[in-house]
Amino acid sequence: MTSVTKAPPKRFTALSLLLRWEWLLVLLIIVACFVNASLSKYFLDVDNLFDMTFNFMEKSLVALAMTFIIISGNIDLSVASNLAMSAVIMATTFQSGLNIWLAVLLGLFVGTVGGLINGLLISRVRLPALVVTLGTYAFYRGVAFVLLGDLVVKGLSESFMYIGQGNVPNTPIPVPLLLFSVMAVLFGLVLHRTTFGRFIYAIGNNEETCRYSGVAVGRIKIIIFALSGFMSALAGVVMTARFGSVRPNIAAGLELDVITAVVLGGVNIFGGQGSILGVVLALFLIGIVRFGMSLKNVPGQIQSTLIGFLLILAILLPQLLRRLAPRLRG
């Protein structure tokens, strides 16, 4: 990474802190695994470990795009609603006779358009992402309710449900995990190895300067929001296939889980900092902690409380350390 050496010293310390951050996550994952293994002797079973990942792959797919968005200094609150809207449109068109794979394509298209609308409002009308996606958060979820009301779509085909429930033939690897791994590598490459990725960081660090330096800020924002919409729809496809049904309230509250994971992964909520690796580690950490709590029959609400604590501690501790460090040295 030659760009790092060129960067001013402040950025360098931030990056070295970030590296430490990822090691901390690895350490926490190891601790969580030990705790889980002592809670249940079935935890370290290979099939069990792979099965565990089914529970958080949809969230993880959305988190990849959310990482881009938060690093660019924006936020997308509409992801779960967009997921619901595209899943409902996919399911209802299937129900009225469309081929399931065409319906999937339609769903992905709708999600992308949903994201595109966010991006256009944010970059062309120059509105804050928080407000725009708050509006579409209500609107897209509303569309899902308008289309489906209190009904449920079921009876999706076996071959379709394979996407959400099946394993890669002759291996214990779940299809969603494979899909996520491929996507994570792609997102990682784009973010850390392309000019496009560097621009995302640059926009997050100083949008105004980017604009004056001739970076196509508006176009990049539109692309990453459209990408976020696409990933939400993709997560919707996987989730629909896993549950075998769609309700309009599907994935309610998922946006908060996703943002929590991204921030826990070391991405600066104000933009400009973070890595895909950190986010992937955080996703697995949360997944393993939640799985451990489920082994002990801890109710979902209490699990969320602990994740909330984890989020606050994750930000608070490094802050305190940073403040204490000079004093200790002095």
């Binding site: 804050p128 509006g135 979820r141 509303g142 308008v146 609400q301 409380t305 909330g308």
Partner: protein, 336 residues
């Protein structure tokens, strides 16, 4: 943004606040005319009373939310705070008859204050960004509701008549609930506009650095904003369980977004520094009238969310376009 550009933007925002209140009022009047043509019941005293009852708690919570947004922050924990306070007070009331309506209200505001100050401490002393702090406490408070209640409800038969009657009674033909919301609005209006602390809250929202240089105690005022939001949520929590005669672990789920929506529709700038109490009240009123109107003209309640989303988007897009037009006309005149 240069200093001059920022100045221009600021004065444009001030004009917008005025324009916004007029604009939203005109919109409300048009909506009222259209709906009353479709449904004669709409403009009856009974129905308007219902609308006001429905938006009273929303406006109380939205006023707290607006105070926080004015400081450039955001409070996502309002609904969880409301639910947790409601549950604690509800459980206390059902097991100890000492908790009369008056005690309940004080207790609610006290608990809300504690929960709000925790946010305030994390934001000021912990230097955690408001959106992260309150995202965290949102799940923590919500989980605690479940933890202390074990998932059980506090039902109407566990509450005394006086407790339920606290929101339903009337003073001078005005429902108590609306009366209380009115008092909250008047006090906050006075506080924000006519006290030094209130003005300091605006000042630190429009420019934290300048505020600090001018000797404003930024942290103390920030803390205060979260404290106020907490107290109002606590009050809202007690009123909520009295009005709906039940406290549940999923009370007011998603209410934080309604509160933010009411503030944003009412012209509170999400970047801080501007926003008015009358605006917030009009924002709440608009949301309330829309929901009520959908019911009356027999549009499926499933449209509610979609319509609310469209209103939020319409409000902010109009704002942005208006402020740009104003800035342009100013720079042409060269009056800045």
């Amino acid at each position: 943004m240069s200093v001059i550009a920022r100045e221009k933007r600021r004065s444009a925002l001030l004009t917008i606040a005025g324009v916004r209140e007029t604009g939203i009022s005109i919109f409300i009047v048009l909506l009222v005319i259209v709906v009353s043509l479709r449904s004669p019941y709409f403009l009856t005293v009974d129905n308007l009373r219902d609308v006001l009852m429905d938006i009273a708690i929303l406006s109380i919570v939205a006023i707290g939310e607006a105070t926080v947004i004015i400081t450039r922050g955001i409070d996502l924990s309002v609904a969880s705070n409301l639910a947790l306070t409601g549950m604690i007070v509800g459980m206390a009331h059902s097991s100890h008859p000492v908790v009369t309506p008056g005690v309940a209200l004080l207790m609610g505001m006290g608990i809300g204050a504690v929960l709000g100050s925790l946010n305030g401490l994390l934001v000021t002393k912990g230097r955690i960004p408001p959106i992260i702090t309150t995202l965290g406490t949102m799940s923590i408070y919500r989980g605690l509701v479940f933890a202390i209640s074990g998932g059980a409800w506090v039902d109407a038969h566990e509450m005394t008549k006086e407790f339920i009657g606290m929101t339903k009674g009337e003073i001078l033909f005005i429902p108590n609930l609306v009366f209380m919301a009115g008092i909250v609005a008047i006090i906050s209006y006075y506080f924000l506009n006519h006290t030094p602390t209130g003005r300091q809250i605006y000042a630190l929202g429009s420019n934290p650095t300048a505020a600090r240089v001018a000797g404003i105690h930024v942290h103390r005022n920030l803390f205060l904003a979260y404290l106020i939001s907490g107290i109002l949520c606590g009050l809202g929590g007690v009123l909520w369980i009295s009005r709906y005669a039940s406290a549940q672990s999923d009370t007011a789920m998603g209410f934080e977004l309604q509160a933010i929506a009411a503030a944003v529709i009412g012209g509170v700038n999400i970047f801080g520094g501007s926003g008015t109490i009358p605006g917030v009240l009009l924002g709440s009123l608009l949301l309330g009238i829309v929901v009520n109107a959908l019911n009356l003209v027999h549009i499926s309640p499933f449209w509610k969310l979609a319509v609310q989303g469209l209103i939020i988007l319409a409000a902010v897009v109009t704002d942005a376009l208006l402020s740009r037009r104003l800035q342009q006309s100013r720079s042409v005149e060269g009056t800045s």
